[in-house]
Symmetry: C2
Subunit: 194 residues, 2 copies
């Protein structure tokens, strides 16, 4: 397959900005449009891999529309329980942040997101499970000043992930590759075939 020099350059630049220290746990997110929107935002902020925690729902079938193609550029890892998902992430050094609505939690804007950070986003109706909220290192709240008491999950994910991007931009974390030479090379070899 022949790829233009421009595309190869784009792939190199995107890989040089990928943030292996930023991930998302999708916990039973149901609607394929939401899943697609979250993946698209993940791609935009440099998430390399997302964690799929589907214990009550099936991971939805995602359409092939261009808006959904972020799919290709994000690796996915499956987990069978909250325990094993969080144990894996913590063993890898991630701080696990459950995003919650209301109630004694820490504001998104008071947290250092330049550390290895895993955001947990929950199902559209049930939110993050009580189990996940308990097992997380912190319960994070997005400040809300209005009459409606929740945000769409893809909006909540965008707000959190872009705050991480903002902090990481300020810290210069997009200036030098965060991936190892080996990962950069092997991902490049894969991506040029996509």
């Amino acid at each position: 397959m022949i790829r233009s020099a421009r595309r190869l350059e784009r792939i190199r630049r995107v890989l040089a900005r990928r943030q292996p220290g930023l991930t998302v746990v999708m916990e039973n997110i149901h609607d394929p449009h939401n899943v697609s929107a979250v993946l698209r935002t993940c791609d935009a902020v440099g998430v390399k891999q997302v964690e799929l925690l589907y214990t009550q729902e099936k991971f939805p079938r995602i359409g092939k529309k261009s808006s959904s193609s972020a799919n290709k550029w994000i690796e996915r890892r499956k987990h069978i329980s909250v325990d094993s998902c969080f144990a894996t992430l913590k063993s890898e050094g991630f701080v696990v942040l459950a995003t919650c609505v209301g109630g004694g939690t820490r504001s998104l804007y008071d947290i250092d997101l330049t550390r290895k950070t895993a955001f947990v986003f929950g199902n559209e109706h049930r939110g993050v499970s009580p189990e996940s909220a308990r097992a997380a290192d912190l319960q994070v709240e997005i400040p809300m000043m209005g009459m409606i008491e929740s945000l769409n999950v893809s909006v909540a994910a965008a707000v959190c992930l872009y705050e991480a991007l903002r902090q990481r931009l300020e810290a210069g974390m997009f200036d030098d590759p965060q991936l190892s030479e080996e990962d950069l090379h092997s991902l490049y070899e894969t991506w040029v075939t996509l």
Copy 2:
């Protein structure tokens, strides 16, 4: 109509945080789900009124689902042309920011959003019109580090509006009412009947 003390208190608190100096121009946004999501985010960050600039599409019919009910809490003003919309906003002291993808624009994170700020968000396919981009005070870019070259419009709106919220939180703009006594009173009288 009888409202609980708790609800009346909530209405008071929300009105005390409304930001008349932050608005959104919806330019031909087509999909009712996107319109609903943008309105819901507007409510969450304290937008009091949005500007409808529907020159090529009709403003979509919004469903009555709970997730759409932000509708009730946001005033809407219609404009018939880019010129009259922008002239009105500028005469009111707003800095008009067209959100664009790529190309010689200023990063969202390099702009002071504590000033009177109007964000323009465009149609899902066409984006902000060239006319609006030209007439705006600034073309604002959301940094994107990934392979996909655009964001969902409701995600883009969330990223911009929450950056405004973050800056305004830091500046203490949610600590004291931004609305006049008169507006606080008249909105309260309306809202208790909704």
